[in-house]
């Protein structure tokens, strides 16, 4: 079963020690990704989406750290890999598109060279590896590939843009350059962290089209991180909804959109602006995002949930399998009884 998975994350927990206590930014997250799959990771700002992606690449900043879980890439646990083995995977097998293009591009290097960097690091273009400046032959070939990918991602006149600096690019072009950087080594997984948040709607559509093309032509699996459930529903096959460091619901797009199991997903669907129904007002979810340094024992969403019962705040709620490949972390749609001898936090499904 797990042999077909490209990436399988089990019980991933990542914490940041802070002055106010330990922030559990990612708490027991399980995810599965098949080759070519499009997985959406959706949730409000600060719920730990970026931290999941950075944990996969083992790029969590000190003093933050992954304290628990397995990250199986092609069956190998990335948490057990050496620094060298991890570097060989980063950028080559698993590449990431970061959230904010302007601050992510290095302001002092020309864009073309920044795209070429991963090619150089992973020795993608074969040839004699002489020290600079004797490596002209290899460098020329690498440059050709960079120009090709710049064209592929829709950067006009790549020859001229190769030697331009990031601040000379528009926001959309910066995002394309970042995508080119992530794709240059032909990764099997692309981690896309809010790739279109900084862009206006038309550019957003172009970028999403581009990502879909990449997925179809290269079979690249993509984890799309976004706070926009609508965008994820349009783009992905599977969606995982995240709240306060935990996955609260997971399923196919159809299941999530037509029959949300978790009240938080329901809330997200309600606050999605719908163009067709102009009358209907967007309904924001009442209440505030919880403090990750002081999470309750029970459901973190309970204080904002209109279905919440006494029990919700008192017991830790496990992932219930609703149907095949579909999970929800809510007591509402689930029949259960409390087994007194198991203690309060053990809930047994009927």
């Amino acid at each position: 079963m797990s042999g077909t998975e490209l990436l399988e994350i089990r019980q991933l927990t990542t914490v940041f020690p802070t002055r106010r206590g330990e922030v559990r930014a990612v708490d027991g997250v399980n995810l599965r990704l098949k080759p070519g799959q499009l997985l959406g990771l959706v949730g409000e700002s600060g719920c730990g989406k970026s931290t999941v992606l950075l944990s996969i690449l083992r790029l969590i900043r000190q003093p933050g750290q992954i304290v628990q879980g397995e990250i199986l890439f092609r069956g190998r646990d990335l948490r057990k890999q050496s620094g060298k083995a991890m570097r060989a995977i980063r950028g080559k097998d698993i590449a990431m598109i970061f959230q904010d293009p302007l601050s992510t591009l290095n302001p002092v290097f020309v864009v073309g060279e920044q795209i070429r960097e991963a090619l150089r690091i992973h020795h993608i273009v074969s040839g004699p590896r002489w020290p600079w400046p004797l490596d002209i032959a290899v460098r020329q070939n690498e440059k050709k590939r960079v120009l090709k990918i710049m064209e592929d991602v829709g950067i006009p006149s790549p020859m001229d843009r190769y030697a331009a600096y990031p601040h000379q690019f528009s926001g959309g072009m910066q995002q394309r350059a970042l995508i080119a950087m992530a794709l240059i080594c032909g990764p099997s997984i692309l981690l896309a962290d809010e790739p279109t948040t900084a862009l206006d709607v038309t550019i957003q559509a172009q970028i999403m089209d581009l990502m879909r093309q990449i997925n179809q032509s290269h079979g690249t699996a993509i984890i799309l991180v976004t706070h926009d459930l609508g965008l994820a529903a349009e783009f992905c096959d599977t969606i995982a909804v995240m709240y306060a460091g935990r996955i609260v619901e997971q399923g196919s797009v159809d299941q999530i959109v037509t029959d949300p199991q978790h009240p938080y997903t329901e809330g997200l669907l309600a606050c999605r602006p719908r163009i067709q129904q102009r009358e209907q007002r967007v309904q924001p979810i009442p209440g505030n995002v919880p403090d990750l340094a002081a999470l309750p024992v029970g459901c973190a969403f309970a204080p904002r949930c209109k279905y919440a019962r006494e029990l919700c705040a008192q017991v830790s709620i496990p992932m219930f399998s609703v149907e095949d490949g579909r999970f929800s972390r809510c007591l509402r749609h689930t029949d259960f009884r409390i087994e007194p001898h198991l203690g309060w936090d053990e809930i047994v499904r009927l």
């Binding site: 690449l57 620094g83 980063r90 080559k92 601050s103 290095n106 002092v108 970042l178």
Partner: protein, 336 residues
């Protein structure tokens, strides 16, 4: 384009130099102490006729504005007048002394950068480590320690106690060095004089360390804090996500950005290296501009002071220009 801009900036230094010279001209004449009186005080009893003759010779009997006019007229032709005390052309005196000062400043700059750049990088990479704490504590010492004190300690240890390095001067007295540029290290290289090269380098070590220590301390601190910032940046994360080795991330992505604010600070420090070394020149018997200017001030040697100040202003502006030019290479968002 860049060359034209640099030439423009060089031309702009001329009014700056004159402006500074005019300010000094008035300040010196408004502060108490008359040059002729001071000269006479050294020579004993002199007749009033003699004093009048000297005043006339130095143009000190004329109205202030006429004096200024005469000074500016000569200066425009490149003639900065005669030193009252040393009785030699100011330009000659400066030409003799300036190379020593610049050589020492460059030595100090080199020493301080060789020390501060690795230290700044390492203490940022290993923030809060023992190394970081030690170097930051010692850099605090480096900033607050008086220069002459460090100089004396170094002389006591390295020259007097262990006899490794010379006590003072620029070169051993028994060595003959043909002067070409006045920079002894350069002249030794140009004339292929190995002994002179070694000797002049050995003479440079202690004064360079003494003069460079506070600069090294400041630069190390600035570089450390800018490295801490760039190491936290998103582009460093991007480089890591491409699979770059950590040293590549640090030395290429983080350092190149951290150098931008650091270069500005180094530029300000170069001014201090050129103009703030009188005491260190005295401690090490270094025949530079600084000591000559201090003597000139005590003697109210107006032409020598004015000339030296113009040279200081010039070197200052040149150092700033060099920094600005470097800045444009480091920061693609900025042009001259």
């Amino acid at each position: 384009m860049r060359v034209v801009k640099i030439l423009e900036r060089l031309l702009a230094t001329i009014p700056i130099m004159f402006g500074v010279a005019i300010i000094v001209f008035f300040f010196m004449r408004l502060t108490p102490g008359d040059p002729v009186d001071i000269m006479m005080g050294q020579g004993g009893a002199v007749s009033t006729g003699e004093i009048e003759r000297l005043r006339e010779e130095f143009n000190l009997d004329k109205p202030l504005l006429v004096q200024l006019w005469l000074f500016l007229k000569d200066a425009l032709r490149g003639d900065l007048g005669y030193s009252y005390i040393l009785k030699r052309p100011v330009t000659t005196l400066i030409a003799e002394r300036l190379p020593a000062t610049i050589e020492l400043a460059l030595g100090a700059l080199l020493v301080s950068l060789l020390f501060s750049i690795p230290v700044g990088i390492l203490s940022a990479v290993r923030q809060n480590s023992l190394l970081d704490r030690l170097t930051m504590a010692s850099s605090f010492l480096g900033i607050s320690m008086p220069g002459f004190w460090l100089g004396i300690i170094l002389i006591l240890l390295f020259s007097v106690r262990w006899g490794w390095l010379p006590v003072q001067g620029r070169i051993s007295a028994d060595l003959k060095l043909q002067q070409v540029t006045g920079f002894f290290v350069l002249d030794s290289l140009l004339t292929g004089n190995r002994q002179a090269l070694i000797s002049s380098l050995r003479h440079l070590v202690l004064p360079s360390i003494t003069l460079g220590a506070p600069v090294a301390a400041v630069v190390a601190r600035v570089l450390r804090s800018s490295m801490l910032e760039t190491l936290r940046s998103d582009y460093v994360m991007l480089a890591r996500s491409k699979g770059a080795h950590e040293w590549n991330v640090v030395l290429k992505h983080a350092l190149r950005n951290a150098l931008i604010p650091t270069v500005t600070v180094v530029g300000l420090q170069v001014g201090i290296l050129l103009g703030g070394n009188m005491i260190i020149e005295a401690v090490f018997g270094w025949p530079g501009l600084g000591r000559m200017v201090v003597d000139a001030i005590f003697n109210r040697d107006f032409p020598l002071i004015q000339g030296s100040v113009m040279v200081y202003a010039f070197t200052f502006v040149i150092a700033n220009l060099a920094v600005d030019v470097m800045y444009t290479y480091l920061n693609p968002k900025v042009s001259l």
